[in-house]
Subunit: 162 residues, 2 copies
């Protein structure tokens, strides 16, 4: 503690610690929408994969895993299942045929469109108490934070205990 | 889409979707500190449990699981191990002896103190590019969001696919 910096004993470390606040807010807000998605028959991973592919370029499993904050074997299993249902398909990379990319199908796009509409409505309800400006600032700050902290090459945030 | 609200085709849904931004920022920022904690011999769960108990009242396993965004069996296993090491201990609840609470020991407090110092330094580095005011606003917004979205009684954000 620096001189003149008073500790408020009523505030516990984790209650004012950014990573803990991000984790808790993320868990609570995502959890709310995941209940909506589950009611419509989507698992959390199915929702994340389809939402990430919707309107996006085809991408590799590893990029999909990164963007959905999921493990690669999980994404592979989900993509297998969704391919059987015709929601996504595997295609070869244009310039390197050995690379496989995942693309959303028109059927997958149609099925996820209704859920994306519900997601935007949920997001609006979450941001509403903060007002337009504060909501936009929050998103801008998070985007810049994400840009400033690229994925670590050895990223493996697996908890040995989980 | 409402009238007059133009969609920017260059912005994909998940790139501007609050729950996705929270999840990604949380993963990247926590991941950075988890590498620092691991270098000092702490698993992610050990760090979360000790940081949550530090300077705090004794609490039940279920509350500890909630605050650390972890599953109860995981927290129980971690507490068992840390109890053997003398970092935490189980005590009976004052008014209801059937309830067991977890308390950090003086040894546990000493061991986590150095890590909390590193965590505060890491947090300062993360917030530095945003300036004091924007950093404080971010934390205030997250705290209010957490307060506005209490844990759902049937909260189970487990991904069936993970």
């Amino acid at each position: 503690m620096r001189k003149g910096e008073a500790a408020d004993p009523a505030v516990h470390f984790v209650d004012d610690y950014l990573p803990a606040l991000l984790a808790r807010a993320s868990y609570l807000i995502s959890g709310e929408f995941h209940r909506i998605a589950k009611d419509r028959g989507f698992t959390v991973s199915e929702w994340r994969v389809l939402a990430t592919l919707a309107g996006n370029e085809p991408m590799s499993i590893s990029r999909l895993a990164m963007l959905t904050v999921s493990k690669q074997p999980t994404v592979t299993r989900v993509v297998d299942r969704m391919e059987l249902r015709g929601q996504v398909k595997r295609i070869a990379h244009d310039s390197d045929r050995r690379v496989t990319l995942i693309e959303i199908t028109p059927a997958g796009s149609r099925e996820v469109a209704a859920l994306i509409k519900l997601a935007r409505e949920h997001e609006r309800r979450v941001l509403d108490p903060f007002g337009l400006q504060r909501g936009a600032e929050l998103k801008a700050t998070l985007k810049r934070m994400i840009a400033l902290h690229p994925e670590h090459p050895d990223a493996d945030d697996a908890d040995e205990d989980a």
